[in-house]
Amino acid sequence: MLTLLRNLRRLRTTVALPAPARGRSLALRHVDAGSCNGCEHELTLAASPYEDVQRFGFGIVASPRHADVLLVTGTVTTRMREPLLAAYHAMPEPRRVVALGDCALARGVLAANAEIVGPVEAVLPVDLRVPGCPPSPSTITQALLDLYDGDYAVKTVTW
């Protein structure tokens, strides 16, 4: 165990990711609306020591009740429309929706029309579009920073 921790420490020193200049905090909830699992695998590795998205205060939470942002992957299938809406409506305001990956944006989708509803924006208001098939961990991190710094912080005060 100590060897594992020592090796991880060395790795973090070698990778030497810069510390963020300012504090931030975003609670993210992911919903797979009909992906090929590529976006999920890349989103998972956004937490690896090579990207470490948590250093910005961004983290995945278990429930939409705790979330600021809904990250939606995949083209929305007929069978995932209702669960996706349920997750969105379970979120507290203010909330933001990120359509993650080409399928969520209806780019180059391969599917039978009868089985899908369409892109995420056919079901929910989308605040940020992140292209890529799939978007890499660094693209995902940068997109979340853009959301936070460029838009999210300003619009949170809504009362």
């Binding site: 594992l4 090796n7 090929c36 590529g38 690896s48 083209t75 995932m80 669960p83 899908i116 961990p137």
Partner: protein, 457 residues
């Protein structure tokens, strides 16, 4: 002989069930011999009905349910024929009834707590003990097989590939083999080598990811992070070699267009050797971590008998003592003389399935080291044999045997069918969880680490 008699005779002869699918008018069953040779048996659908074979081989349960939902075929004798792809919301129609004092249900999903694909689990429990599990998948059903119909054989590859990012190479190679079988083409040794490299690169990142996932399932953050870092390095090797982290579009029908010069191949080989060394060191740490190891034995047990009976494939089957690996009978790929490996303790539990990944990783790293000894050049498959309207391909994915069938007319797809390792193993996982505690299910689930996407398609 009748259809049922032919299937029964084949099973008696030592062939195993490899997949069943329907077209509009016919139901076809793929069977595989110990030598890896595939045989297809067909039966005409009469008045919307064919006899079931689920009593002969329970592994066909999901295939028949899917054919019933998507092609309206009734399977006489398969009772009750519960919906699978169709989401009938009436619980009585799709769950197995469980009665008794204090028995109740726990519904999980389709949205899970982590970054996980969508699918629903209906646990029937008493207290924490799982009595039965009904898995309802197909939330992600995109109708990929239907959507591929009418496309050219070259266009069809994308539909097989995008069924699942984690098995993209396997699905593409199985599809390419099926098309080449139908076109009368044979891969050259060099084409076989390139595809084998791509398949093993996929296995490498996938197995590293699976070890990380089991650590996460047991709450060992350091192990999870360590193997996540190795997974990231493996994906970077993929990108360096092919331009894509999941190796998308690196497999073509009838040849190989990927070109990688000597310097880049050598750099990848060096990085793979370094990943191999680090993963061995990390694995040693996991072996001596008692808080992890204490969680692993004797849960999610799959016996060898059940693995055979239910048609388990891949690492899950091998960890139960079924030494079955498509790679050892793959003349179209560069696996000459490969022998399936097994963990020290072939117990069919979470520990055995985890160790199965670790020992297979060593084999994969050795294979890559051997195969990446020279540049990758563009090559074509060679023609010569006669084509046919139906082609078959079967390839070992990181999760197990994947069957692809392509039926075409003049190069246009009439029917594409993909039966992946995950598809075969989902019902097996549901069976293996019975008798265990609900809080252990995430760990049992991670030890199989099945894709939802390539089951749902």
């Amino acid at each position: 002989m009748t259809y049922r008699e032919r299937i029964a005779a084949a099973l008696d002869d030592g062939l195993r069930f490899a997949g069943l699918y329907a077209t509009g008018s016919v139901v076809r069953v793929a069977l595989v011999g110990p030598d890896g040779v595939l045989r297809l048996e067909s039966v005409e659908v009469e008045n919307g009905r064919v006899p079931t074979i689920v009593d002969l081989t329970p592994a066909t349960a999901w295939d028949e349910r899917e054919a019933a939902d998507l092609y309206g075929v009734r399977f006489d004798g398969h009772e009750p024929l519960r919906p699978l792809v169709e989401h009938d919301l009436d619980l009585r129609n799709w769950t197995v009834p469980v009665h008794g004092d204090d028995a109740y249900q726990v519904a999980v999903g389709p949205i899970h707590a982590g970054v996980i694909e969508s699918g629903h689990f209906r646990f029937h429990v008493v207290g924490d003990k799982i009595l039965h599990l009904d898995a309802r998948l197909f939330y992600k059903h995109r109708g990929l097989e239907r959507a591929a119909e009418g496309r050219s054989l070259e266009e069809g590859r994308a539909y097989a590939q995008r069924a699942c990012a984690a098995c993209a190479v396997t699905n593409s190679v199985a599809y390419a083999h099926a098309c080449e079988d139908a076109l009368g083409l044979t891969p050259t040794a060099e084409l076989a080598r390139v595809r084998t490299v791509l398949l093993e690169l996929e296995r490498a990142w996938s197995h590293l990811n699976d070890i990380a996932a089991v650590c996460a399932g047991a709450g060992l953050a350091a192990g999870n992070t360590f193997f996540a870092a190795l997974t990231e390095r493996a994906r970077r090797v993929n990108e360096q070699l092919t331009g894509h982290r999941f190796l998308f579009d690196s497999v073509q029908v009838g040849g190989n267009a990927l070109v990688v010069d000597a310097a880049r191949v050598a750099a990848a080989r060096e990085e793979i050797a370094s990943i191999a060394a680090d993963s061995k060191s990390g694995w040693r740490e996991l072996l001596f971590n008692s808080s992890l190891q204490d969680r692993l034995p004797d849960i999610g047990v799959l016996t060898a008998d059940d693995a055979l009976r239910l048609g388990a494939v891949g690492p899950a089957a091998r960890a139960s003592g079924v030494a079955d690996d498509v790679r050892s009978t793959s003349p179209l790929l560069a696996y000459d003389g490969l022998v399936a490996v097994a963990p020290r303790r072939v117990a069919g539990d979470v520990q055995a399935r985890l160790e199965q990944r670790a020992v297979e990783l060593l084999q994969t790293f050795e294979l890559l080291d051997t195969l990446l000894d020279r540049p990758i050049v563009a090559v074509d498959a060679v023609g010569g044999s006669e084509g046919s309207p139906l082609g078959l391909g079967r390839v070992e994915s990181p999760r197990g045997a994947t069957l692809c069938v392509v039926e075409h007319a003049a190069g246009r797809i009439n029917r594409l069918h993909l039966r992946t390792g995950s598809y075969a193993n989902w019902p097996v996982l549901a069976h293996a969880a019975v008798g265990d505690l609900l809080p252990d299910f995430p760990l049992i689930n991670k030890s199989f680490e099945l894709c939802y996407a390539c089951a749902d398609r």
